[in-house]
Symmetry: C2
Subunit: 764 residues, 2 copies
């Protein structure tokens, strides 16, 4: 065996020792004295099982990078294997770069071991606190898609991605194996390493149960060139892995290479614990292998034997300084896996060269005087942006770009697809700014990887189906929140959703396509992270998207209609309105100052209905003083101490008064409005109309009526709630409901929209 | 060509004609006169592209069933292909069974055509209104998992499952191809038919871009025996499909068969539309192929030519009655695909033989006098249930059964896994009541299929990761809601979640594992569907689970801690408390009737902290009259007009008074409590402590402290808010915060729980 191999073995022994120590020890970290209970962490925490395999991969990549100079980013799917990554980061000196207390000596070693899974220290899973990390891996499933996103538009980058065999069972991972079809010659390469060690928490895994033939067939079918590296039973796992990595790096023509690494779970552990539980090579090695050592002398002895089996005294000096040969394993400092700049993508981020919105704005001489499809207008602006930023901006979408009326984008770019397409197609190329796949998970994962490595993007999606990525958004919001607390992490571009196929106009696709719950989902996030905008027309959409694409570290959700509909605000008015977040629309109001009732609205369809309701009231109740308020920034309704966008008290009062009745037409579930209003004065006066979870395939008017959101419903509610209108309002409300029902009958009979039947337009 | 084949072709021509007519026509449905604009639906809605292929499959299955008598359930992934299914259901007479207006004559035919995608009629996608349907298919991805769930424990059943090539791109479908490894000899068979017609909405699909070799490799790797049936270009697609179906049905030994059906998208359409847009065999055939016919004479003529190409006059008599040979195609009535009893599983559902909970209840002599792990206690009861209902009850879980402390279940059954397992394993067998796969999507899909075919089940899951199935729950809630509105659908067993690895004790796994948002998700659902329980100890958990497993048509979410913790209620008290939903815990209160402040709580950890807070106040503020209220049924807080579980006003007042300050310790996000309280009197007096989205790997006490949920925080809040305590409370609150911080320092230094440090127990 060449010296090099022996050094690698020693290097791995050191890392494995450190990982085991991190899980168990708080003191006597080099076993300079006999192990006693007081040396142990009182609550040993961590996952050992995957650690030896992760270090095997890390060491192999070190060698590859050292030999080839290949700029390499590591994405670790099994984030619970954090101890292994920490050990490697410490030995390569990366930890010391960010924190001098983690230097390459005994103090640093003790600090590293103690800090792992310790209050105020390093979390038990990989997290933004850890250098080199762009993926948490606590909720399994997203490593591979993230890796592909990181590789886009960076042709010199290799993204090595470890996928655990537990994670491989998830749907998002299973879908992500097809990602190469959506990348092309302008992108970096992803080298997946499927790490099979046979077990998840308590059971064998699917992929372990597959034969080598089945594995080869499966991945060949996905378009990979798989190589199975089975290191179970070998004393020298480094050499076969190194050879496989070298072959993969040679970048042969044909299908891209991937590696299936079969290793022994928890390698290095004794075969059994003192009570006879099998350990090495079983799922019992998954977490803390010897959890009761503090109270069980036999287990303590077994732990000491296990730890001493790594012979730490051969690896570290008495002063804790690693032996010199170990320090020669990592590649040149700037190439070390923990220091690749892409892992702190905010440092690479440049502001997008956003075009001015003026050029694309709709000329609105008078409110409601012209119709437009807001996303169609936006598409023009985005097309110019794509021309200006051809390597730093991407659009991911579940094959809904055209359906979301953003097809205009495809004048400036193509859908990226790098596979033989036998038949007819449009706007398809091996290079392109758009990736369309019928998997919201892949869209989200790709975009996360792209953003976290310093680029920008947009995710247009059907409103109802964006909930498919609820849990990914949960985790991403956590990643952003923690990142902001890490001093050396720079802000990344925001994650931007455009939900333009909204439920109110999914009357044709029916009930499954009607679901505005993603707004509620966003409201569970920190105020530092979540933004929700509901631009009611094209000019407000332009303003909002400009703001979103210029922002950092946020998750912006923009909901707007896609149908051609009346435009309300001029570009200047739109700018002022978006800056305010919410404001009185005087031209739609009949109150001049004092009002009897406020008609508030948020969202394209509710805004149209509210303005129509105000007009109905102008005709039917000319004495009623109605104030119309539009809310474009939902979180402006929050009290300012709960959200930075919250309107100041005076601005809030200027819109809603202190005790005025408010009839609020809201795009989503009414609960979302109640939630943001919490803490505002006298919230019981807000009567929110919204989606009541009533729907089917029907007319848009029926959809409104069944959710009590027609103009008639809003007007009827306003007259019964308006100050001083308690008695007079009742008759009028009944009349309004009668009108609504007549239109409903007509719309059922003729299958047409009331808009089409009545030809209504706001006359102002 | 044998007569049989000619009949099948005529049958398909009839179905294709009807499907095309459904999308376009409202009158002149048999083209007995020249087509005029007024015959057209004003808003043509529907998806044509997949229809001819679906009918090809339906017809092929008809033949298989007729020839073999095989009881067969069809799960249609492309639910947007509803017109094809409706056509088949009408022709086989199933529609007429449920609605005499849909009889097999001209009136019925006209009604069918008109009713499709018409207000008040049939939705444009498959839905619970459609006989034979257990899967909606609007949000793509879940058909295959649903099919496997339907097949479980029904060895005589064949579940044919059409998977579209759009749907095949989703993660949940990609994961579901591995499902055979989790079924065994006691289960029915699933026959997947991957329907490749090349395109999703606007792009080619992944699977279309795979070569036959790649497809064969991929599915062979998954453990299938794939057969590719390419019917593009043949005049007789029925024969090769029939032969493949027959081979599949012969049930050869070895890998289970599946079919890859390559067909032409929108087959039957003209090659191009009058404006030159390519139609047949392209994505332009996906939805309405000729949408502008009403206003464009050329397109109207093209539509008429297309429709007449089916020669309806050869298929239907002048009276609209289908030709006799067509009526002979479907199998015997009871075997027709639309009538298989499993598709209306509620009719097959039998109440579970639930064991009495008494036998398993924890003896609680005095509150807090004994510790137990609630799920461990529950596992005993569930084990008896499994013994009593070995073929109608299943547990699905993402490999977290033992981690969720439900391992006791495995005394009564095994994990089902039907693949070679090379190494060590425990509790694994080809038959078993438990399926553990690291895919929440698969767990959910399997369970949905199982429940909708008349059986019962439980889904234990980590709380934070159940959000992975948010969107599946959205769609399932819609399915339940619509089903309840369909007269002939019988109630199915409820979908039950047990979330016992809750965030407050995921301090070791860290921030990614801390997320109670599923509760908020449930609150967006109809009051007829959603239930949320937070049992604080074992006896309440037993009561709640008994109730959930006896219920129908609900989605029950049960959140409880898994750690050993103090038990509060005797079995009798637990029963009364669960019946009430929320009640005053006198034994923990210091108020005797009138109170100065209410300490309310919901959830295992908040309940413990609240009781400890009450004790702190008993010591530090003996004059303060504290009332302790526990809420086990979250929706009992809703006003009774908003939710059937809402406490009557008097009961609500008995707990919370009318204007008493309430300090509420809640398990999840505070917004959930505010939301359910909406509409109750004076809600501004409720001060809710909960998860503020602060977390990491730390001590449980730190997790509480960083979210302001320790006993000290609750007590401090109580004394500052209690009536008449404004001034005195301030000093005491500062003292409490000081105590909290001292414990926090200690917990940081020693890495121990304050519980362990202080040895606190409630003394009462």
């Amino acid at each position: 065996m060449p010296a090099r191999a022996e050094t690698l073995r020693r290097y791995r022994r050191a890392c494995d020792y450190l990982a085991a120590a991190m899980i168990h020890l708080k003191d006597n970290v080099l076993l300079t004295e006999p192990l006693r209970p007081e040396h142990l962490k009182p609550r040993p925490l961590g996952h050992w099982g995957t650690c030896p395999g992760l270090t095997l991969v890390y060491a192999g990549l070190n060698r590859l990078v050292a030999e080839t100079g290949q700029r390499t980013l590591l994405v670790t799917g099994p984030g619970h294997g954090a101890p292994a990554i920490h050990a490697n980061l410490w030995l390569e000196g990366t930890h010391a770069v960010h924190d001098p207390r983690l230097g390459l000596d005994g103090h640093g070693l003790a600090e590293l071991v103690r800090r792992f899974s310790w209050p105020g220290g390093f979390p038990s899973h990989l997290s933004p606190e850890v250098p080199g990390v762009i993926h948490e891996g606590g909720e399994l499933g997203y490593a591979l898609a993230t890796a592909f996103g990181a590789a886009l538009d960076d042709p010199g980058l290799l993204v090595a991605c470890v996928v655990g065999d537990g994670e491989a069972e998830t749907g998002p991972t299973a879908a992500a194996w097809h990602s190469p079809k959506f990348t092309g010659p302008g992108d970096g390469r992803v080298l997946p390493i499927l790490h099979l060690n046979g077990y998840k928490i308590a059971s064998p895994t699917i992929y372990e149960a597959m034969s080598d033939d089945e594995l080869t067939a499966y991945f060949t079918g996905c378009g990979w060139h798989p190589e199975i590296v089975d290191v179970r039973g070998t004393d020298d796992p480094d050499t076969p892995l190194a050879e496989a990595l070298a072959r993969a790096h040679e970048q042969p023509s044909g299908p891209p290479p991937m590696i299936v690494l079969r290793s022994t779970k928890g390698l290095g552990l004794p075969a059994t614990s003192p009570d006879g539980t099998p350990l090495a090579g079983t799922f019992h090695a998954h977490q803390v292998p010897l959890p009761s050592a503090a109270g069980d002398p036999d287990e303590l002895a077994a732990l000491e034997r296990w730890l001493r089996s790594y012979r730490p005294e051969e690896l570290f000096g008495a002063d804790g300084v690693p032996a010199p040969d170990l320090l020669e394993v990592p590649p040149a400092p700037e190439l070390r896996l923990g220091r690749v700049p892409q892992a702190n993508g905010g440092q690479l981020r440049r502001d997008l060269p956003l075009p001015d919105v003026e050029k694309y704005a709709v000329a609105v001489d008078r409110p409601g005087g012209v119709d437009a499809s807001a996303p169609e207008v936006l598409a023009g602006w985005l097309a110019e942006l794509i021309g200006r930023a051809p390597e730093t901006f991407r659009v991911v979408c579940p094959d809904e770009l055209e359906s979301n009326k953003l097809g205009g984008l495809l004048e400036a770019t193509s859908r990226q697809f790098d596979a033989e397409v036998p038949g007819y197609s449009e706007h398809l190329a091996t290079r392109g700014r758009v990736q369309e796949v019928l998997s919201e998970h892949l869209c989200q994962g790709w975009l996360q990887g792209y953003l976290l490595t310093g680029r920008h993007g947009l995710f247009p999606c059907y409103e109802a189906f964006v909930s498919i990525v609820d849990s990914m958004v949960n985790q991403y919001a956590k990643f952003l929140k923690m990142s902001a607390e890490v001093s050396w992490r720079a802000p990344v571009a925001s994650l931007n959703y455009l939900l333009s196929s909204d439920g109110w106009r999914q009357e044709h696709n029916g009930y499954s396509h009607q679901g505005p719950g993603f707004i509620n989902q966003m409201l569970t996030k920190k105020a530092t992270t979540a933004r929700v905008y509901l631009p009611p027309d094209a000019n407000t959409l332009l303003e909002v998207m400009h703001r979103c694409l210029a922002s950092t570290d946020l998750i912006n959700v923009v909901v707007t209609g896609k149908q051609s509909s009346p435009q309300w605000l001029s570009p200047e008015e739109a700018r002022a309105h978006c800056r305010a977040g919410a404001s009185v629309w005087e031209w739609a109001s009949t109150a001049d100052g004092d009002a009897d009732v406020v008609l508030a609205c948020a969202g394209t369809t509710p805004t149209l209905e509210t303005i129509a309701a105000a007009e109905l009231l102008r005709e039917l109740a000319p004495d009623l003083r109605v104030r119309v308020v539009n809310v474009v920034d939902l979180l402006s309704l929050c009290p300012p101490d709960r959200h930075p966008h919250g309107l100041a008290d005076e601005a809030f009062t200027a819109c809603f008064g202190d005790d005025l009745p408010v009839v609020f037409a809201f795009h989503g579930y009414p609960s979302a409005v109640h939630e943001v209003l919490h803490g505002r004065p006298a919230t019981a006066r807000f009567h929110v109309h919204g989606y009541r979870e009533e729907g089917t395939t029907t007319t848009p008017f029926d959809l409104l009526a069944s959710n009590r959101m027609t103009r008639h419903d809003l007007a009827a509610d306003a007259v019964t709630r308006a100050r001083g209108w308690a008695s007079a309002g009742g008759d009028l409300a009944r009349e309004l409901v009668k009108r609504r029902d007549a239109l409903l009958v007509q719309s059922y009979r003729d299958g047409q929209d009331p808009e089409e039947i009545t030809g209504w337009r706001w006359r102002g």
